[in-house]
């Protein structure tokens, strides 16, 4: 600080400057934080929290622990051999009686029914016949229903006792834990979800490929036409965004149904004898989904293609390449980043499609989201809904990573 004492006049000036700079900087930071705060909050509320709670829901073992905490903890100590001790029977009877009041019985019944559909009835019957007091609850309960004398009955309740479970995640992959706790595949006739996941991937992949096949030439046209024409065409590409998804889907049903415009015109032209089944099957799903998702392919492709100078192809042709070869060897590789963006966008959006396949697809065209909706809306099985959702999320992330790797390896160094 020697210099500041020497030059007394400059010192306060300098300190003043620093603090002014700090104040200005602080103001800037506050402004910046203030500007992003609403978005950050919004993301936390609508994105991080719901996804986090969905992930938790998929491994949450449900209500037994809340409604019958003592039964749950004493069953967790049981070794699973023979029958639990008298104390367990006693707290169970106690908590069963109490559960009637809080409405907890319904949720426990629902949870236990996933183990075996007999439980709800068993609990109801037992509650009806339950005396207010007993000195031997074990015999009393077995008297009410001999099921209470079977080890399997208690094992089922024990399975619902721990706070976390992997049953939903396993079930979403057509797996279960056998009697010995080993993971095994469920019976042939009960297998469902592997096929559903596979179908979801096939539909999403198919839609993506069709979108790419249709979108690439369209984007190329848009990028190479004179500005006036291409602006007009661009409006047509964006037009679907102006109507609601439901309206568009309904329009496809009307268009594609047996006596719809598509079939009638083809019959009028003599192309077909009798109407084709174009809707309420896979064809309808592809039509409607491609239509809705095509702009998401075209836009990123267009933006990349717009930046590619036509002189590259001319250069290739001047170097002796046939125009097709020039296009394929010189133009297409430069569009990789757009193709990557478009395909990943369309694929991920398609993976989550629900309402369109539900409306224009048949029973065999329903995707994972349909079952998520089914479990949330119809059966109230949040565990299954969350597990299916989580697995879809994981698969998506995994595919994205693989894809990212692949594309990055070929990533171009653009000027």
């Amino acid at each position: 600080m020697a210099s500041t004492t020497l030059d007394g006049a400059a010192a306060p000036e300098q300190g003043n400057l620093k603090s002014r700079l700090r104040r200005a900087e602080r103001l800037r930071k506050v402004k910046a934080v203030g500007l992003v705060a609403p978005l950050a909050l919004f993301l936390v509320v609508v994105f991080v929290v719901p996804i986090g709670s969905m992930l938790l829901n998929s491994i949450d073992n449900g209500s037994l622990r809340q409604v019958m905490p003592q039964t749950a903890s004493s069953l967790q100590q049981w070794d699973g051999e023979g029958l639990p001790g008298e104390a367990t029977f006693a707290v169970f009877a106690d908590e069963l009686r109490d559960s009637r009041r809080g409405g907890g019985l319904g949720s426990v019944g629902r949870r236990l029914n996933y183990e075996d559909p007999q439980y709800r009835g068993l609990l109801m019957r037992t509650l009806m016949g339950l005396p207010s007091a007993s000195d031997n609850w074990r015999d009393t309960l077995i008297d009410i229903d001999p099921a209470w004398g079977e080890t399997a009955t208690w094992q089922g309740i024990q399975a619902a006792a721990p706070p976390r479970t992997d049953r939903y995640l396993l079930a979403s992959l057509d797996l279960e834990r056998g009697a010995d706790g080993e993971v095994q595949r469920v019976d042939q006739q009960d297998r469902l979800y592997q096929a559903v996941f596979q179908r979801t991937m096939v539909i999403a992949g198919g839609v993506t490929l069709i979108c790419l096949a249709l979108g690439f030439p369209l984007a190329y046209l848009l990028a190479t036409l004179p500005a006036r024409t291409s602006n007009l065409l661009m409006i047509l590409v964006l037009l679907p965004f102006w109507t609601s998804l439901l309206v568009r889907t309904a329009a496809w049903i009307i268009l594609l149904q047996s006596n719809g415009l598509a079939n009638q015109s083809m019959m009028a032209l003599g192309l077909i004898e009798s109407p084709l089944q174009l809707v309420f099957n896979r064809i309808g799903v592809f039509f409607a989904m491609v239509h809705i998702l095509l702009p998401f392919m075209v836009l990123p492709l267009y933006s990349v293609m717009k930046g590619i100078s036509p002189s590259y192809q001319r250069a290739a042709v001047s170097l002796g390449a046939h125009p097709f070869a020039a296009f394929w060897q010189v133009y297409v590789p430069q569009t990789v980043s757009g193709v990557a963006a478009g395909t990943i966008l369309v694929f991920i959006m398609a993976l989550g499609y629900y309402i369109t396949p539900a409306l224009v697809g048949g029973p065999a065209d329903q995707m994972v989201s349909y079952y998520v909706a089914y479990y949330t809306n119809t059966t109230n099985n949040w565990g299954m809904a969350a597990a299916l959702g989580s697995i879809l999320l994981m698969v998506t992330l995994l595919l994205y990573l693989v894809y990212h790797r692949l594309v990055n390896r070929r990533q171009l160094i653009r000027r």
């Binding site: 250069a315 001047s318 160094i413 000027r415």
Partner: protein, 368 residues
């Protein structure tokens, strides 16, 4: 004075009455006749929008002539697709393929020609040495400087030994120093390899430095096609005189003609002897063209046949010479270029000086 019919050599390229319109309303190229001999370096020079690129694109096959024919030797080129023309081409932005390395870029024309790998390797290697970019072979164009990219583009257009190399303002994106260096490199390549080059530029200095012949374009018409020195010394019309080098113009009228010479009146009652330009007769309006370095000042002007006095506006010092801006009747931006050592340092702006020139330094040209 050589002109544009090279009868001695059979022309490699011949434009015969070529016309081009893009919109069907105005001709961008009007009746173009041009021959290019083998081994020649011909530059198309002209202001922006004069149709130079259009001509080059027609030669390369990317645009079709609306009328007329282009010949390669005896073969009519109009219907040959561009990828079969076997011309090398260098684009203004180089158009190096960004997803290929330098080496892959240079190899590309050999690949399209399905050359055996060993031969292709040898050629690529040779040309990499020639452009001195061997250590950059594995880099992508984006990782090179402008001058290096330029050299790669050049190598790529030469590696397959084309009959003709077309260059559309290949040096436009480089800074002055690099541009001058590349001008020499291209010139040397042309001499070394015996290339035939058609070069497009709107920089007259570049055109004069590099070319065997320059075609000066304006408005879709070749104004003059000649060697650089002839263009400078004997411009065919006022546009060429104005476009090539520095020039003073005086508006006048031809008074009398004697053979190659004439007298012309200009300003208020002044007259000068001049070399008579093409297609001028007595009474015609003319633009008298005088190069600044031919205008002499004071002492040096004493013995010259054409003298007049003028008021000095300003002096511009340019190191080895001075530009003296004077006001003349009919041209108040008349420039004389005086070597520094021949300059009278007493002169000030506002002074009156005597200017003089010889008859043969003035050319009476067509008024555009």
């Amino acid at each position: 004075m050589p002109d544009n019919d090279n009868d001695a050599q059979a022309p490699l390229i011949r434009f015969a009455g070529v016309q081009k319109t893009y919109d069907g309303e105005s001709l961008v190229v009007k009746d173009l006749n041009l021959t290019i001999a083998e081994g020649e370096f011909v530059t198309l020079l002209g202001p922006s929008g004069s149709g130079k690129t259009t001509c080059l694109m027609m030669l390369a096959g990317f645009e079709n002539p609306t009328g007329g024919d282009i010949f390669l030797g005896r073969q009519r080129l109009n219907s040959v697709p561009p990828h079969k023309r076997n011309f090398g081409m260098v684009f203004q932005n180089y158009a190096l393929f960004p997803h290929m390395t330098v080496e892959e870029n240079i190899r590309y024309p050999l690949k399209t020609r399905r050359l055996p790998a060993a031969e292709a390797d040898r050629k690529v290697s040779e040309i990499l040495d020639m452009i001195q970019l061997r250590e950059f072979a594995r880099r992508r164009p984006g990782q090179l400087s402008g001058g290096q990219q330029q050299r790669v583009a050049l190598a790529r257009s030469l590696v397959f030994e084309p009959q003709l190399v077309l260059m559309d303002e290949p040096l436009g994106a480089l800074d002055k120093q690099l541009r001058e260096q590349m001008q020499l490199e291209i010139k040397h390549l042309h001499q070394q390899l015996g290339l035939t080059v058609v070069f497009v530029t709107h920089d007259q200095g570049e055109a004069l430095t590099m070319s065997d012949r320059v075609a000066v374009f304006n408005d879709g018409v070749i104004q003059q096609i000649d060697t650089p020195s002839n263009l400078y010394e004997y411009p065919a019309n006022a546009f060429v005189a104005q476009f090539i080098g520095e020039n003073n113009t005086l508006a006048g009228r031809v008074e009398s003609v004697e053979g190659e010479r004439c007298r012309a009146r200009f300003g208020e009652g002044m007259s000068t002897g001049a070399v008579l330009g093409p297609s001028l007769a007595v009474g015609d309006v003319t633009h008298l063209s005088i190069r600044p370095e031919r205008v002499k000042l004071d002492g040096a002007a004493h013995d010259l046949p054409n003298r007049l006095s003028a008021r000095v506006h300003e002096f511009i010092y340019l190191g080895d010479h001075l530009r003296v801006r004077c006001a003349l009747p009919g041209n108040d931006d008349f420039v004389a270029r005086v070597p520094v050592d021949a300059f009278d340092h007493q002169l000030k702006p506002g002074d009156t000086v005597e200017l003089g020139w010889r008859d043969e330094d003035v050319r009476a040209l067509d008024a555009p």
